[in-house]
């Protein structure tokens, strides 16, 4: 007698909605060839529904926690989790998607009939990463990772006018697949060592047993870290990031970077903190070393860039290091808060890039930003706030985020990492200041960039969020604190 597995629709409702939305977009396009706006509305509708479903998930999580019945949060025979951690990450992913679509809207419109494909790909990528952050099974996680990643590979190469787009796509694809292979090989080795694939099972395994010859498991851990390190663009697995950020269409780069980072770190937190929490003496030094390396490589390389998108890419590498400092700190609150505020800042920054360099992103050299403060003071001011936020200056959300992860890392005994981190953040100041210098202190006779309303919304929202969370961080911090993993 085989009992059919219990289906918990709520656990995958947002993902289902988005997947359906993607299908509808494609079908509608094929059938009626409507105006882009119609497809946009469908996408928006799907996203709103997905957000609503996630809200329901949050309520369900709260119920379960009140009822002290965490078993309720495990769905699909232990494949999917619907814990606070997953819900928070999913919110972040959906938020990034909304902002990403808004930022890229002009670009998507400009793609003509292929706009539908872009919308569908975006939604599918979100589905993949959303499953990834919610999965309790390493193979499931791999599936989510691949669904999301493959969608991103295609997105990266969607631009026809710019040859760099091809290059970005093939690089991203080849290296991404390469890294995925490492990741999944690591999963296989962990499985070989423990016989478990589910995260909670692995945790239970290490709670019960002490492994006598753990070499295989260790290699597996190392490979998993390397694979995830690629996704979050941590040094030395970062080399794809600048090329892809620069080559891929500006309209979607912010989205790509944000969701990959959210999902990658959520997965890293799940695997390292939840599954391998008992082995932290094994992976802590590695993660700390990668964090230090990322912060330094990212900051110093960003310092010498002439292209704002590459600079943001390297800044992303540095941020990966800061978030990994949070992983070393071992508190999901710090990691999630950092991810959320960074995603917002990153999307806002890329919205500015889109505004300045046009939809295809041809003009993203730092020279194109000269005198922006004169040409378009609002945009320059917003960009300044976002850059200062990324730099982590007080009164911005970035400062609170950095402060959080630093405190956690200090708490877990990694004082040296905090020292390295504060020094690296000083180097980081230098390149954020370079852009500000160009905007405010250099003069150039050029026209003010035309601002698309959707981009304006994104920038405004990001600026408000950056300042608001910098001054009143409490609400978001509380949310992140409650977003516990099972």
């Amino acid at each position: 007698m085989i009992t059919p597995p219990e289906v918990s629709w709520i656990a995958i409702a947002p993902d289902l909605i988005l997947a359906l939305g993607a299908a509808v977009v494609l079908l509608v396009e094929v059938q009626w060839k409507p105006a882009a706006r119609v497809l946009g509305l469908v996408t928006a509708f799907s996203l709103v529904l997905a957000v609503g479903a996630t809200l329901l998930q949050k309520l369900a999580v709260e119920d379960a926690m009140l009822a002290a019945d965490p078993e309720r949060l495990v769905a699909f025979s232990g494949m999917i989790l619907m814990d606070g951690f997953a819900v928070f990450s999913r919110f972040a992913l959906l938020g990034a998607t909304v902002l990403g679509v808004l930022t890229g809207w002009r670009y998507i419109e400009g793609l003509g009939r292929r706009g539908a494909e872009a919308l569908a790909l975006i939604m599918l990528a979100t589905v993949g990463f959303s499953i990834m952050v919610a999965s309790n099974n390493l193979v499931m996680m791999f599936l989510g990772l691949e669904v999301g990643s493959i969608a991103l590979y295609v997105l990266a190469g969607m631009s026809r006018e710019r040859p760099e787009s091809d290059e970005a796509a093939i690089k991203y694809f080849l290296l991404g697949s390469f890294a995925s292979a490492f990741f999944v090989y690591g999963v296989a080795l962990i499985y070989a060592g423990t016989g478990k694939l589910a995260i909670l099972d692995i945790r239970a395994f290490f709670d019960q047993f002490i492994v006598t010859s753990p070499t295989v498991i260790y290699i597996g851990i190392g490979l998993v870290i390397a694979g995830l390190g690629f996704k979050v663009s941590a040094a030395p697995f970062h080399s794809w990031a600048p090329d892809v950020y620069q080559g891929a269409p500006a309209g979607v780069v912010g989205y790509m970077a944000a969701v990959a980072k959210i999902a990658g770190f959520a997965a890293m937190a799940r695997i390292l903190l939840t599954a391998l929490g008992d082995l932290d003496s094994i992976w802590l030094p590695i993660v700390a070393a990668l964090a230090a390396l990322s912060m330094f490589v990212g900051s110093t390389l960003a310092l010498v860039q002439g292209d704002v998108r590459r600079m943001l890419a390297y800044s992303g590498v540095a941020h990966a290091g800061f978030i990994m400092t949070g992983v070393v700190g071992g508190e999901t609150q710090g990691i999630l808060f950092y991810l959320a505020v960074y995603a917002v800042q990153l999307l806002g920054a890329f919205a500015v890039v889109v505004a300045v360099s046009g939809a295809s992103g041809a003009r993203s050299s730092i020279d194109d930003y000269r005198g922006l403060a004169r040409r378009s003071p609002g945009l320059a001011g917003s960009f300044t706030v976002l850059l200062l936020g990324m730099a982590g200056l007080p009164l911005t959300s970035g400062f609170i985020a950095k402060f959080g992860v630093f405190t956690d890392a200090w708490n877990s005994g990694y004082e040296w990492l905090v020292v390295v981190a504060v020094l690296a953040s000083v180097i980081a100041f230098a390149f954020y200041l370079r852009i500000i210098v160009a905007m405010y202190m250099d003069e150039a006779e050029e026209e003010a960039p035309a601002l698309v309303p959707t981009v304006r919304w994104v920038v405004g929202l990001a600026v408000v969020a950056t300042i608001a969370w910098g001054i009143f961080p409490g609400s978001l911090l509380d949310l992140a604190a409650n977003a516990l993993a099972l």
């Binding site: 193979v139 791999f142 599936l143 691949e146 493959i150 590979y153 295609v154 190469g157 040859p163 760099e164 091809d166 290059e167 970005a168 796509a169 093939i170 690089k171 694809f173 080849l174 697949s177 390469f178 292979a181 999944v184 090989y185 999963v187 296989a188 080795l189 499985y191 070989a192 016989g195 694939l197 600048p242 090329d243 620069q246 080559g247 860039q305 590459r310």
Partner: protein, 101 residues
Amino acid sequence: MIVSAGYYMALAAALFVIGALGMLLRRNVLVMFMCIELMLNAVNLTLISAGRALNDLNGQVAVFFILVVAAAEVVVGLAIIVAIFRRRSTASIDELSELRG
């Protein structure tokens, strides 16, 4: 003769390394592609032999998923390569190194 799982896993490791090195050494995008497939299949072999050794089905089931993923990757990858080939009529990856620094 019963061959222990260790040998299979060693073979898988060797395949994985060969695939990784091939990825680094070959210039043709298609061949690099195949190398990645090789790496994924090494993973599959590992999972199967481990599952067999542990007498656990999960590992073997996982192989199906990975096979599917590999197939999906091929589809997307070939599409990208075709797109590039149309524009540049070359499949050498070294031609694609304009983004750097």
